[in-house]
């Protein structure tokens, strides 16, 4: 495959940045998108140019490291896949592919296609956990009976890898699908009840302080989420928050 790539290049966080065109040839349709970028970077390095910086780690669709806004969609045009699992056969020979970083005030660009997603870490630190005694007296979680439906929904929420595609896709740069998933995975389980009120209040407070936008229920986040996190989690987040606000 021969392709034209339009890639956002930005030297550092303070640089203005711009789109730069690259021509790339002999790309196998069976390559992953990141492998295609690896080929481009090898060519750039051979020419003495700076390679394109992009986040990646497991390349198995589970770590949440890779990102990229490809042809106007988070993680590209395929559904339920991360960029590392996106294959070049999705594109046509001769196609122009536009590659940009996630765009959100809360996700500032560090370099090229790499953005700072530590806002998500701070939201997690604000309440995305349960306090468990690990001094040797830990009670086996399986001793507490849990409804199958609740266990399944909690597990589904917990599959969120925190990649940020929800924020990138949302026209308002809202993080509510991420926060909804992180709140839901505990709200549905008995182990999460003790800290439920503080958890949701603190996580939403942190989310707002980070500068994410307000959810207007467009549903773009659910469509673009590589893990298929449902909008039901946002509705649950709303309920948990309103209930916690009345208690608090």
């Amino acid at each position: 495959m021969d392709l034209t790539l339009k890639i956002w290049r930005q030297k550092n966080a303070n640089d203005k940045g711009k789109m730069v065109d690259y021509q790339i040839s002999d790309i196998s349709p069976d390559m992953s998108f990141l492998e295609m970028l690896d080929v481009l970077n090898n060519e750039l390095i051979e020419k003495g140019d700076a390679p394109v910086s992009f986040d990646h780690d497991c390349r198995e669709g589970i770590c949440g490291s890779c990102s990229l806004y490809i042809n106007g969609e988070a993680h590209g045009p395929d559904r339920l896949v991360t960029t590392c699992q996106l294959h070049m056969r999705t594109f046509k020979d001769g196609e122009t592919i536009v590659i940009e970083p996630w765009r959100a005030k809360a996700f500032p660009v560090i370099k090229d296609l790499v953005v700072d997603r530590t806002a998500f870490d701070r939201i997690q630190q604000a309440g995305g956990f349960i306090s468990v005694n690990t001094s040797g007296n830990t009670i086996d979680a399986n001793t507490i009976p849990i409804e199958k439906e609740d266990a399944d929904n909690a597990f589904m929420a917990a599959t969120c890898i925190g990649c940020g595609a929800c924020v990138a896709s949302c026209k308002n740069s809202s993080a509510m699908l991420f926060v909804g998933a992180k709140v839901s995975q505990f709200a549905l389980l008995p182990q999460g009840q003790i800290e439920a009120t503080d958890r949701v209040l603190n996580m939403v407070k942190q989310m707002d302080e980070e500068g994410f936008g307000n959810c207007t229920n467009t549903g773009a986040c659910e469509v673009e989420c590589p893990k298929g996190i449902s909008l039901e989690n946002i509705a649950r987040l709303n309920r948990e928050y309103l209930s916690a606000s009345l208690k608090g």
Partner: protein
Amino acid sequence: MSGILNSSIGRKFAMALSALFLMIFLLQHFAINILSVFSADTFNEASHFMGTFWAVQFIAQPILIFGVVFHFVMGFVLEIKNNNARQISYAKNNGGANSTWMSRNMIWSGLAILGFMGLHFYDFWFPEINIKFIEGDMSGLIDPNNAESGYRYMEHLQHKFVDVWRVALYVVSFIFLSLHLLHGFNSAFQSVGANNKYTKALVGFSKVYAIGIPLGFIFIALFHYFNH
């Protein structure tokens, strides 16, 4: 509880509550307007009751005005905040791949409705307020000195739908209202946390409401234009 309106979810909840209130009002408004198609006398009686009953005028109407103003102001506030959350736009954004046009353009359909409300107030609300509370005529009669002259409401309505440009503006505005409701109805329920096994049925009902009510208003405008 005190800081709830300062949070993103609190603002979203308040926006949804005002929207649900306005959708109930819209249904009530339609129920009275459609009477004008079937019976001028019934329409006149209902309009006179709504225009002179103290609870409607001095309790329901101020709440309604607050609801309308709140919904518009909060809509603009949220739009500004949301624009600030993404200061650099994408060079290429395929919004149509993951969301409806209606959901992405609520501010524009809302602005069209706001413009329409200006016209609608100029046509009906301001003249009514002027006659009742400035001129002091609470009779509702065409000629306040002649009890036989009959109520003025139907005549006023028919008179307004003589001009084709006004009818066209009403029709276009109701199309925007329909687009606004097609997203707003379900969105309001999602915002108050109602997403459950009944959501699928609610989506179906919302489409009936979002298309049916504006279509009904369009029918009323066209009916009076062609039957005057």
